[in-house]
Symmetry: C2
Subunit: 431 residues, 2 copies
């Protein structure tokens, strides 16, 4: 199956620097991009799509979320963090069935492809359902079952959470043509203990896994870890082997300079979640310092319960402006940096080779944004438009591995009516 | 012309408290709302619209913008403030013709109605074109010609800017059935002088005008005013009579407690512009203090050159989350407060009676948001959904004075193709 996208403005990266091709073509052969340039390549195509009036960007990577939490969207908003979590979120989560998880995941997948996301890093229960849903719907994801330990007597060998995580890895890692990967995941320092973290980190290293962790999201978490262990969460995880594998840490609002140096030295990536950090009052992660230090930084939405959506274009916008405001300097962030965080860096974090860019030999993960909507005119600077002006309403097409998942408002790989029916049924039972 | 909107979820305010009517009706007779309630009222209707699957909110008020600056969208992004303004914005503005202004205004009107805005407060040159465009397109606006003075020798009586402002007032104030109002406007302290401010403020008071001013947007402006006059910008304007009329101040990032007390005592409203303040690195206006003091606070996008769009739903989202992040407290802002800022408070700022709410006897300014999009499901809390989850892509309908301006992606009062043609022609000439 050969496809040609022509007459588009194309945003991509060469040696980590952003380019704009003003009137270009992308040729695609099955899952891969075979050509990117100004003049159309020779050869026959099964489909030729005229993309006049659109900007093509690499598909977006949402590197930290809890996709089934779409079912909890909006509950307990504006409560203090503890009340929100204990009085509203946990009681609902307690009632979630595997079927609910599947319905919530599909709703999340619809929301993601409709806002230009092709891949995400997920952390939630019943992850088999999420793996199946992602596989069938045609996206990419790094899916994990979070490990916790609340019983100091529990032997890690006996932990059902670790067992589920390892079973998931054996069953689904590198499935669906490599689109579905399984990550390891320790939920956080405050929900795990030393023996469990050490044991599980060793299993991750043995299997060459990818480790997903919440680190230093709030001042309270960070301070209490120091009080308990005499170590920051970063130091604590490092000392227990959690960074012996390729690892990535969500939030990192409170990192010290020393923590950042550890992250850099150990090759740990960081996921910045601006909506969630702002809404929950966690604070401003020092993202500009992470970048200066050479740490690989990506972006994430966190779950829909604390965001309250899964819109990476919104996340890119927030990340692009709030740090300028915080530092009172219009030059702290720039649009080109932000697009790189949401694409190239996300693919690197997920351990996906030949992904995250519109480039010959890369996977054909491409999003088309309309520049024929009033908010996208005039198109003087496609990079600035993408970050500062675009929204979900401008997404014309989302393609993953050469397959169109969403186009002109239609979902091509997901049965919208079935998902809506399943979600309504779940909601009736849960609330 | 009688219209009934039925089966909708309705968000409105009673005695400044938010309500949600779960399955309600709104009856409209020409420009006015004649009924809001659960059961359908008796009587015949020319049109009955089934609004199942939507939330009705009062039309949004964008209380500080420079609408024709859509033509400058995206230029000079990520430059330091001075370079952006002097090297990129001013040279283009210098070339703008009245026809350009008209094209840029129409583009702004399209963008605004497509994102749920029914009324705006504008400050720009060639305002006659803006008045005509707003009048014809069916929105509401308070339009002003900014007064500046760069020549200490110039007598205010001879200022062509003041002459234009007064002529505009006489010609267009309260035109197009009261939809178009003309405001007075002093650009800012740093672009005006004492004699001009005093003279013009007196003219405003005589005519019972509404005064629109930029105040304390940046630390530099605020500090330099104190250095020059021994007064903050707020104190300076107050001492010269600018607050003797109903006045409103944009930005106010740097207000002191004393400034706030003056604003409260003189009945001055404040417009918060979070995107612009963040993007340009101006900082965090103490909005929560303004509200605590009982000052009337509204929201604005500022111009598309510094935002870079005119999307009030995005502005509401930013305003709802950034102050929680800044104060590290999830309870600083709440969704119900934010909706009030964007509706009821905006109408009060503009001096529009019986506007800004979905209420019997009020103007029929109503926006419908879809709850059938994946990012708006489930609909557990319509208020939280509106602020934290909705985007421009969820706007189904924008109605102003009982007339539908935008519905299902179509512009009913603006010739889209003509506007796009005019904008492209202007852009070719300008860049």
């Amino acid at each position: 199956m050969k496809t040609l996208l022509k007459n588009a403005q194309i945003i991509n990266f060469t040696d980590n620097k952003i380019n704009v091709i003003k009137n270009g073509c992308v040729a695609i052969n099955n899952e891969y991009i075979t050509y990117v340039g100004i003049s159309a390549p020779a050869g026959e195509f099964d489909t030729v799509k005229d993309m006049r009036g659109s900007i093509l960007i690499p598909g977006l990577y949402n590197c930290h979320t809890h996709s089934p939490m779409t079912l909890l969207r909006g509950i307990g908003s504006d409560l203090p963090l503890d009340k929100w979590l204990f009085d509203t979120v946990f009681p609902v989560e307690d009632k979630l069935t595997a079927d609910d998880i599947e319905a919530g995941t599909y709703l999340a997948l619809m929301e993601m492809v409709a806002s230009g996301t092709v891949s995400f890093s997920d952390m939630y229960f019943e992850p088999e359902r999420t793996c199946e849903a992602v596989g069938k719907a045609g996206l990419k994801a790094n899916i994990s079952r979070p490990v916790q330990c609340f019983d100091p007597q529990e032997r890690p060998e006996d932990s059902y959470r670790i067992r589920q995580s390892l079973e998931l890895f054996d069953k689904y890692h590198n499935s669906f043509g490599g689109r579905v990967l399984v990550d390891f995941c320790i939920h956080a320092e405050y929900t795990c203990d030393e023996k469990t973290t050490r044991y599980y980190s060793d299993r991750c290293r043995e299997r060459k896994g990818n480790m997903h962790i919440h680190i230093s999201e709030t001042e309270k978490e960070h301070r209490q870890c120091i009080e308990k262990y005499g170590k920051t969460p970063t130091q604590w995880f490092d000392s227990l082997g959690a960074f012996d594998s390729r690892a990535f840490a969500a939030h990192c609002v409170e990192l010290t300079e020393n923590d950042m140096d550890i992250m850099k030295a150990r090759g740990v990536s960081i996921v910045h979640n601006p909506s969630s950090n702002m809404k929950l009052g966690s604070g401003f992660a020092p993202v500009e310092r992470f970048i200066e230090k050479g740490i690989n930084v990506a972006l994430g939405t966190d779950g829909a319960a604390s965001n309250n959506n899964l819109d990476m274009l919104e996340e890119m916008h927030l990340a692009s402006v709030i740090h300028n405001g915080y530092h009172r300097d219009a030059t702290v962030m720039s649009a080109d940096k932000i697009i790189k965080l949401a694409t190239v860096n996300g693919a690197l974090l997920q351990g996906r080779e030949s992904c995250g860019n519109i480039k010959e030999g890369y996977r054909a993960d491409i999003v088309a944004l309309s520049v024929d909507n009033p908010n996208m005119m005039p198109c003087l600077d496609p990079v600035a438009l993408t970050v500062y002006s675009a929204g979900r309403g401008d997404v014309l097409m989302t393609m993953c591995d050469g397959k169109i998942l969403y186009e002109n408002g239609e979902f091509l790989t997901i049965d919208k009516e079935k998902v809506f029916y399943d979600v309504r049924k779940a909601i009736e039972r849960l609330y």
